[in-house]
């Protein structure tokens, strides 16, 4: 008969159909179209990979053997989905916020991004999943065998392995084609998800069709079937309570921890709100899937010969009743279940293997790091492809070794108990900030050891991997270490026993080790991020609408930019968008503008993180925080630079203040000077006016009087001229406009000349001058006229102001290196300390006693000496008024 050939043809057509579906979905997704790809319905259907061939074939076998116990496997996940608000919502939020690519990634990310932990989880996941993949291969092979047995005799059972190999290769090819097409940042695979959604419909439809056929076609109606159920050998409720409870717990745990479930539930999740639909739609789906299991089992037990495999009733019942079309549909349903599971499991595991094992090794081996950023993508894809092939091949190997003999259900439960070991670490990480990496590591290790020792190794049969003696008397003969009776507690169901001990020891060790240790900073940071995920992220699609976001953005912006500026910004943006009021739509453009505005205030990384917090998408990750830290460092550097600058500025300000004070002082001096000058000018002018008026108005003046008055006028005019000359001289000297007439001469001759000029006229008698002519023989090269002006002034002053009985002036000359010191010391009472400070100022006259000078003499002297590169100073403590003139012997150009 051609049944098998038709079967193969149908299989091929079906696979091609799946390829087309996956390809079309990929293309739609790439074009950015296909909103239906991301509908809650597709999400719910993709979750149905929980129902593998184990469900499709195995559930009936399970029911035929153990009655209603099979229901526990579906009740657990139903409860988890119904309770989505507790765990799943948080897991999905965290998964999206942290961009988790797998359960290993999530766990390692929670515990300080420890790759060691990721490697451990990956290895354990591979160990836990491999039997499951073998199970799928086995079921497909068995179903092929059913058809070959029924159809033709020449197909030997020896071909089973080649069938399994072919199926494995086909599945690996499919997964590689659609699972590693692109290296999406979000690790979403629209093609694969769409294909498994289609397969979900096919398997549901197939099982329903068989069920309807069995109940109404074979069983003769609903009530008759129910009667048949009660009459069968599983007709009474004989459930063991411990198994019922622990299996519900186990399936619920496995639903959360299975790598493939994590893949479709968290990684492939497009929108958090899909969970809301799935919360009731998925329980409905598995309810319908398990609805006809018992009727099929009972009718199968009733109709089919004793000893036929109950795992294949779904297939053999239609065949036995001659319904080959239905059998074909049923076969496709089982095929769908098996393939979708293998594809997603291979995808999930390969992501873990390539990300946490292959890539770290490759990066260390090539010594790469940041330098190989360009071509890493290809390496990742290649690693993933090899991992897929490797994982599927491992499953095939397991299938070959185990011989495919064990009942499907028991393999499935062993596998479930294995992955359920992730549960304490997962939940602890999500709800308890105190969970640490060491605790996670210890808990996982203990849990898996107990699981392997009590369940996995003995499941191969007594004496295969664990010797009979160990089973009987415990390892090393320690009685309380018997695999089925740990701590000497006997009589428990082996599965319940293993689950109880592995999970509780796992949890206790995890808890205690977490308490004892101290987490690293990154662990603590990630712990806070995970546990308080709702505070750190907002949903992408908020229920309360987008204006709430705008408001939040406004609140935040006001805090950072200032209320007025933020309002202006928001208002102008709202106007640009054509919206009234202050709240614009949070469009990407606006967010970009806002982010830029904010980054001006708080730095780019912080602004990004802040907007991200409100709008959703990228939440604050460690990288963000690091960036913030970086920026803070830059800010600090900048502020220290500012500080330096401000110090410089305050220094400048100080200098300016000093300059200002000086200017004010000078201004005061100038005012004083002006009033002095006017006063000095006024006195002679008054007398000139008065005497000229007398000369003009008085007729009878004697000649003597006329001469007297005229000479007074003349004297006063001379005085005025002298004063004006002095002022002019001083101003010329002060402005540096003086032209020096440099000559060479002898100091002694210069002093002779000065004495002669100064001591002419009346009052010079009795004024003694003491000199040491020998020391005065010094050659000078300077402006001799100016220097003599200084000397004349000093000598005249001494003669004018010396109040001694016998006034005397001593002139001492001392050579001091390149300059000559000339001291003029008289024997008078000197100048008081107060006056010493001002004698060189303009119009300063000591005592205001004698007329004659305008008080400009010493000021002029000082200016002249400054021009000549020397100085003139008052020399205290010489017994009288003493002035020291320092003259450089050669006038240097620099002094000009």
């Amino acid at each position: 008969m051609a049944t098998l050939n038709i079967l193969v043809a149908v299989c091929l057509i079906y696979v091609i159909f799946l390829f087309v579906v996956a390809f079309a979905a990929e293309r739609e997704a790439r074009r950015g179209k296909g909103g239906w790809l991301r509908s809650p319905l597709v999400y719910t259907l993709s979750l149905s990979i929980y129902c593998t061939a184990w469900t499709f074939y195995g559930a009936v076998g399970y029911a035929a053997r153990s009655g209603l116990e099979y229901l526990t496997i579906y009740i657990g996940p139903s409860l988890v989905m119904i309770g989505w608000w507790w765990i799943l919502r948080k897991l999905v939020r965290i998964g999206r916020a942290q961009r988790a690519t797998s359960i290993a990634d999530l766990i390692s990310s929670r515990y300080g991004k420890s790759n060691l932990l990721a490697v451990g989880v990956t290895i354990l996941a591979v160990i836990g999943t491999t039997p499951y993949i073998a199970l799928q291969l086995q079921s497909v092979t068995l179903s092929f065998a059913v058809f070959s047995d029924a159809g033709s005799t020449f197909e030997a059972l020896a071909d089973q392995e080649s069938t399994a190999l072919l199926v494995a290769m086909g599945l690996a090819l499919f997964t590689i084609l659609f699972g590693t097409r692109n290296l999406d940042v979000n690790e979403r695979h629209h093609g694969v998800v769409m294909a498994i959604a289609v397969e979900a419909i096919v398997k549901l439809f197939a099982l329903l069709a068989v069920g309807v056929f069995v109940v109404w076609g074979v069983g003769g109606g609903l009530s008759e079937t129910l009667d048949k159920i009660d009459a069968s050998k599983i007709g009474m409720w004989e459930m063991r309570g411990d198994r019922w409870a622990s299996l519900i717990f186990l399936s619920a745990a496995a639903f959360l921890c299975l790598p493939r479930m994590f893949q479709v539930m968290v990684v492939e999740n497009d929108d958090e709100s899909h969970l809301r639909t799935a919360s009731w739609a998925f329980p409905a789906y598995i309810m319908v899937m398990s609805l006809f299991v018992v009727p099929i089992a009972v009718v199968g037990l009733d109709l089919l010969p004793e000893g036929s495999n109950p795992d294949l009733f779904v297939l053999t019942l239609p065949l036995a009743t001659g319904n080959e079309g239905l059998a074909m549909l049923s076969f496709l349903g089982g095929f769908s279940s098996a393939t979708s599971m293998v594809i997603v499991a291979a995808l999930a595991l390969s992501t873990m293997v390539s990300n946490h094992i292959v890539m770290p090794i490759w990066l260390t081996a090539t010594g790469g790091g940041a330098t190989v950023s360009g071509d890493v993508r290809n390496v990742v894809i290649l690693a993933r492809r090899f991992s897929i092939a490797g994982v599927v091949f491992l499953g095939f190997l397991y299938f070959q070794l185990s011989g495919g003999g064990t009942a499907l259900a028991s393999i499935g439960l062993v596998s479930f108990a294995g992955v359920a070991q992730f549960l304490p670490v997962l939940l602890g990480g999500v709800f308890w900030r105190g969970a640490t990496r060491n605790g996670a590591f210890a808990g996982l290790t203990v849990g898996f050891m107990v699981w392997a020792y009590c369940l996995m190794l003995p499941s191969f049969g007594p004496g295969v991997l664990i010797p009979e003696t160990v089973m009987e008397h415990g390892i090393f003969g320690i009685d309380w270490l018997r695999p089925y009776a740990l701590f000497g507690i006997e009589g428990m169901d082996p599965l319940v026993h293993a689950v109880l001990w592995s999970i509780s020891l796992n949890s206790v060790v995890f808890f205690l080790a977490s308490l004892i240790g101290f987490p690293t900073p990154l662990e603590r940071l990630q712990g806070a991020q995970f546990v308080n995920v709702y505070e750190h992220t907002e949903n992408l699609q908020s229920w309360s609408g987008s204006f709430a976001q705008s408001e939040d953005l406004m609140v935040m912006s006001q805090r950072i930019l200032g209320a007025r500026e933020a309002q202006i910004l928001f208002e102008s943006e709202a106007q640009r968008q054509g919206v009234g009021g202050y709240l614009p739509e949070p469009s990407p453009d606006f967010l970009l503008v806002l982010e830029r505005e904010l980054s001006g205030s708080v730095g780019a990384a912080t602004a990004h993180a802040m907007i991200g917090q409100i709008v959703g998408g990228a939440s604050v990750s460690v990288e963000d925080l690091m960036a913030v830290a970086d920026e803070t460092a830059q800010m600090m550097e900048y502020s220290s630079r500012l500080e330096a600058k401000s110090e410089e500025q305050s220094r400048t300000a100080r200098q300016l203040r000093q300059a200002n004070e000086k200017l004010t002082e000078i201004s005061v001096q100038k005012d004083a000077f002006l009033s002095q000058v006017s006063h000095e000018l006024r006195t002679p002018m008054t007398s000139i006016r008065a005497f000229s008026e007398i000369l003009r108005d008085s007729e009878r003046l004697s000649e003597v009087e006329k001469v007297k008055y005229s000479s007074i006028i003349h004297d006063e005019a001379l005085r005025l001229t002298r004063l004006l000359d002095d002022l002019l001289d001083l101003s010329v000297l002060e402005n540096g406009q003086v032209n020096l007439n440099v000559q060479t001469g002898d100091l002694g001759a210069l002093l002779d000349h000065a004495l002669a000029s100064a001591l002419t006229g009346a009052g010079s008698e009795g004024f003694t001058v003491r000199r040491d002519q020998a020391k005065e023989a010094v050659a000078l090269n300077t402006d001799l006229d100016r220097l003599s002006q200084v000397f004349i002034n000093l000598i005249a002053n001494a003669r004018k102001y010396c109040d001694a009985e016998a006034p005397a002036l001593t002139i001492r000359v001392v050579q001091n290196g390149a300059s000559v010191l000339v001291d003029f010391v008289d024997n008078g009472s000197g100048i008081s300390k107060k006056d010493q400070a001002v004698i060189f100022e303009k119009f300063a006259r000591v005592g205001e006693m004698k007329a004659g000078g305008a008080g400009l003499g010493l000021a002029i002297c000082r200016e002249i000496m400054a021009r000549l590169g020397g100085s003139v100073n008052y020399l205290p403590g010489q017994g009288g008024a003493a002035f020291r003139v320092i003259v450089p012997r050669t006038l240097r150009k620099a002094a000009e």
């Binding site: 119904i82 507790w86 159920i229 009731w280 309810m287 709702y534 907002e538 229920w543």
Partner: protein, 88 residues
């Protein structure tokens, strides 16, 4: 940013929303309790429950949970339950 000022008394609408979330939270607990009822059923010689009755019970619970959860999720959508609502 989501730290909101919490007042002692909520507006009536918010109060309803929170109680709705409470009910959503309680659903798995209710389901677990209902599905734990079979543990009380007698087994062995002294009569017991037939498989058909057990089947009908389990599936009725299932159906009820699905319907109520579906209703609640729809209600939550229209009532605009804040996704970030924490305990309270």
């Amino acid at each position: 940013m989501s730290k909101r000022q919490s007042s002692v008394f909520l507006q009536r609408r918010n109060y309803r929303r929170r109680r709705l979330v409470d009910l959503i939270r309680m659903m798995p607990v209710i389901g677990a309790l209902l599905w734990a009822v079979p543990l009380l059923w007698p087994t062995g010689e002294d009569g017991g429950v037939t498989t058909s009755k057990a089947l009908v019970y389990v599936f009725l619970v299932w159906f009820g949970l699905v319907v109520v959860t579906a209703l609640l999720s729809r209600l939550a959508l229209t009532a605009q339950v804040d996704e970030n609502l924490k305990d309270g």
